[in-house]
Symmetry: C2
């Protein structure tokens, strides 16, 4: 069970190595919603997402012999790149198990950070088996993308930065997929007493956290069908426990709301964010219309990342 000192130690450990990400505001949006909203843009974090915080923290805390043997993880997304970069910086060997049908761009980005990529068949079972056999054979340590307290403590440092710079908040909203970011955000917010309420932002079409929260039991992600590719995973017992205790509500957002929010941030705030990141903005709008947030409140939005495929856009210019 993570404590406030664990989270504060993670902050001190990470401060010299992470990007202190910028915080943006929009006069237009604040006036439209009658709120004071601060966007914490983890899209400007190293490798383009908050995931670097958790990966670096977890790798830093390995024992010397674990560090020497190396780590493995199964992911084709931001966590893979985060582990690869953290491993490069800490001189720890990193192995990423990736399905053979993962986009070439993700594979090359991970290789670019110096990781070793091991391909597996594109099934959850084959992924896990490949990981297990590598661990047995080489003694690697598995770094799970969110079912890991050191990863969660690392993720909490985004809201810590926000609060150190901008003070207390009436509410903070973070996207929820596997629940690592939301757990870290809620833990620090509530244990430090700096944030009154914490909300999770979740796609309606991948709403396992909402269903788990309201049935008080981990529910599986059934058929996630959302553009927010970072939020298709399911809670673990660990993240559900933190969320149940420290989060006030899970706010669901539709696909159109996610795209509109993403477009607003690109167009008006000139920041490239991924669909998962934009769910926090979609959620603040819904929370407002549902009466969960009142006039003049001060709200922090964690925008989780900015890694999105720009190929279709730039193809237009190639002709």
């Amino acid at each position: 069970m993570l404590t406030l000192p664990d989270l504060e130690e993670a902050f001190n450990r990470l401060e010299p190595v992470v990007n202190k990400t910028p915080v943006f505001t929009s006069r237009t949006l604040n006036s439209e919603l009658d709120l004071e909203i601060y966007f914490k843009l983890e899209s400007f974090q190293r490798m383009g997402a908050f995931k670097f915080r958790g990966a670096y923290n977890a790798l830093s805390l390995l024992s010397p012999s674990e560090k020497e043997r190396g780590v493995v993880t199964h992911s084709s997304g931001n966590h893979a790149q985060a582990i690869a970069l953290a491993g490069k910086l800490l001189k720890i060997k990193t192995i990423i198990v990736m399905p053979s049908n993962a986009p070439a761009v993700k594979k090359s980005a991970t290789l670019g950070y110096g990781a070793e990529v091991v391909e597996c068949k594109p099934t959850t079972r084959d992924r896990e088996e490949t990981c297990e056999s590598l661990i047995k054979k080489h003694g690697y340590t598995l770094i799970h993308p969110y079912d890991n307290d050191n990863v969660i403590a690392g993720a909490s440092t985004a809201v810590q930065e926000l609060i150190k710079e901008y003070g207390k908040f009436d509410a903070v909203i973070a996207p929820v997929g596997g629940g690592g970011l939301l757990s870290g955000t809620a833990l620090y917010s509530k244990l430090s007493g700096n944030v009154k309420r914490v909300f999770g932002a979740e796609p309606s079409q991948a709403d396992d956290a909402y269903r788990s929260f309201h049935t008080n039991k981990v529910q599986p992600q059934l058929h996630p069908n959302t553009i927010a590719d970072g939020l298709r995973t399911s809670l673990s017992e660990r993240t559900f426990g933190y969320i149940k205790t420290h989060v006030d509500e899970i706010i669901r957002v539709d696909e159109g709301e996610i795209v509109n929010s993403m477009r607003f941030i690109w167009e008006r705030m000139k920041s490239v964010v991924e669909p998962s990141g934009a769910t926090s903005l979609a959620a603040v709008r819904n929370a407002r219309s549902e009466g969960l947030i009142e006039d003049h409140q001060k709200i922090g939005l964690i925008i989780s990342g900015g890694n999105v495929d720009l190929n279709p856009y730039f193809k237009i210019f190639a002709t």
Copy 2:
């Protein structure tokens, strides 16, 4: 003729009202080019481009009776929105003469900032005649997008901010279209003694500044055919005079180099910038390979704006 105190006064006048725009760096790029590069991202300026600085400065310096009568300009680009927003903030009536075939999105953005739009036929002659007749009839003051010392002094405040925050530079690069931004940048850089060399970045397919610079005479823009829509205009005698005196070279960049640079900034720096803005990055690469910039030098890039049509990209998600 602008003096250093004019530029410094513009800075003090604008400081309370402009966004202090962020400055980004890229470890990858610095290591690739063996340089220390600072991106001054005017894409994060109010209305999305450096143009707000010049427009606000020029409108602030009108006499009380000029302010009361209002201003007019002919533009369908960033200058129009800049004048509209500055007019709204200063409570000055603004009239924008726009060709009837201007994109609806630009017209609505300008109207959104509270300007009055007067349509004209899509010819330079009709634009100018429409402006002149409005000036005769209503006594409006024309605010030219760059052939105006107060606009140029306003534009100089971007590099002033950069220098106040990051100190002296070996070189600074700014895009050149009509030459307002480059003039302001070069004037302050050289008159203050804080920058050794100043370069203009210009599309090869709209290279009137390059030709003017090397023939020592204002040359017309013949058939501009560049994706960098903000750089299709021609120098005026005024901007040519400043550029001739204070700029060290005009660096031309090809269309593919502009698109690649734009993509790098979007993908790696997670910032939406327009093609005109990305020319500075394309130019630093060319300057490096041409030997105009040496190892380890400290370079400032003015990235002029971030207003670009995202419709084609977001249409993909609408299906």
